[in-house]
Amino acid sequence: MSEGVVSEGVVSEGVWGRFAGALGGFRLEAEVSLPPRVITGLSGPSGCGKTTLIRCLAGLTRLPGRLVVDGEVWQDERRFRPAHRRPVGVVFQEASLLPHLSVRGNLDYGARRTGGASPAALGEVVDLLGLGPLMGRGTGRLSGGERQRVALGRALLSRPRLLLMDEPLSSLDAASKAEILPYLERLHRALPMPMLYVTHDSRELGRLADVVLHMQDGRIAPAPDAPGPDAALAGLSPEARDALALAALRAGLDPASPSPEPVDRDRNPGA
């Protein structure tokens, strides 16, 4: 695994990826950059390519592109690091627990393959997600919310450097959602890695996401209801940002005027 150091202005921390390619009749053309410690929300209509983007980042789908994580090239024109060699945690939309294993077996599955989770790490994740009472159970006897908590814990115990969550709450009823959201908020404060959170629930976005990207027809577009200008620009490359700024100036916008929608957030993502 002797991936080179990144050029073309990509920082050595966090994730930067650009994918452009067709999959069946669908075309994805997206560029994302995910800073560490930040939950990047990704929303958009069904079929717009959110899941495809997640799969590209996880290495489950291969589209032409480039992906750099913490300064390591995971994909470029020649290289493609397969999914099982990427330290990525994925929480899928529907329950994806391995049915032949208990809750503990599921948590151990990834942990064992990454050098084994220390008892401390296991304890921490179990506490963080309230998994203690579930440990000995089979996966068939869990509620929807419990399953997603186990799936999340399992992903975390595999020591990911990037956490991808593909509508993890969309298959849950309102009560289960309410039950799991506080856990996610707690996670957010505890985890150091970049996180991508796909959802089309604006309440979830409001509670969890620091930055929101909007996707449409396989492209990242500025969100119509973005929390602030920073978020709208977060998905763009520096060149695209400069081009936008230039266009704004030419259109007569005054750079000194305040943003139309003041940023009302307790955390400042880029900081």
């Binding site: 996880a58 290495g59 489950l60 397969p82 999914a83 099982h84 060699r85 990427r86 330290p87 990525v88 945690g89 994925v90 899928f92 329950a95 994806s96 391995l98 049915p99 032949h100 599955y109 990834g110 393959r113 990454t114 996966t139 068939g140 399992r154 992903a155 595999s158």
Partner: protein
């Protein structure tokens, strides 16, 4: 009498074991490949169900004959023919029961879907690792069904054994052939004993299959 039962059980056991090993990669390939032409392969592999056993036995007899091109490379090892041998019978039984092994395992792999293998990959399991730690355990009911079907089908085979077995006591004489011979020589009493034994055996096998299915049904809402 004991010798015939032993030969029969040994044949069924060896056939089942070897066939499960052989059918697993085939079933996996058929379950995972998207190519339309894979169904041509699947149809060829299913042929033994449709073909009369005598047709299958006839071709196998030709293939196992000393002059056959398939046998030529084996001459160097002192093997001239596989016809009328236990080994030949095992190979014939494997061909004959192949679809009964491939189909349930393929179904089990297909029912599993892509997701568990993807989950395993995101948890850093290599494809081979995931195959053994996820696919095989998840498809265990398919394997159980395949094993039961192949074992029972081999016990019950008649036409193929008749064509290539030669009914040599202790080597290739099996139950179904013995019953036929007993009836031919009007020894109905002995025929009854063996036939009733096989009926009981068939019942136990079917019951086992149904219980396996029920277990799968009960475990489905996961």
């Amino acid at each position: 009498m004991g010798e015939v039962v032993w030969t029969t059980v040994r044949l069924a056991a060896v056939t089942t074991l070897l066939l499960l090993v052989l059918a697993t990669p085939v079933a996996w390939w058929l379950a995972r490949r998207q190519a339309w032409w894979k169904e041509i392969i699947a149809a060829v592999l299913t042929l033994p169900i449709i073909l009369p056993p005598t047709v299958l036995g006839f071709y196998l007899l030709i293939a196992f004959a000393p002059a056959s091109p398939l046998m030529a490379p084996l001459h160097a090892f002192g093997i001239r023919t596989l016809a009328f041998t236990f080994e030949g019978l095992v190979i014939a039984s494997m061909v004959y029961s192949l679809p009964f092994a491939v189909q349930p395992i393929r179904n089990a792999f297909e029912a599993m879907g892509e997701r568990p293998m993807e989950v395993a990959a995101t948890l850093r399991a290599s494809p081979l690792d995931a195959f053994f730690t996820v696919a095989l355990p998840m498809a265990r009911r398919g394997f159980l069904a395949a094993a039961i079907l192949v074992f029972a089908h081999t016990i019950g085979e008649f036409g193929v054994v008749l064509m290539i077995g030669g009914s040599i006591p202790g080597k290739t004489e099996v139950l179904s052939i013995r019953i036929y011979q007993l009836v031919e020589s009007l020894r109905f009493g002995d025929a009854h004993k063996l036939a009733a034994g096989l009926v009981a055996f068939a019942f136990v096998v079917l019951l086992a299959m149904l219980l396996v299915d029920r277990g799968a049904e009960r475990r489905r809402p996961l």
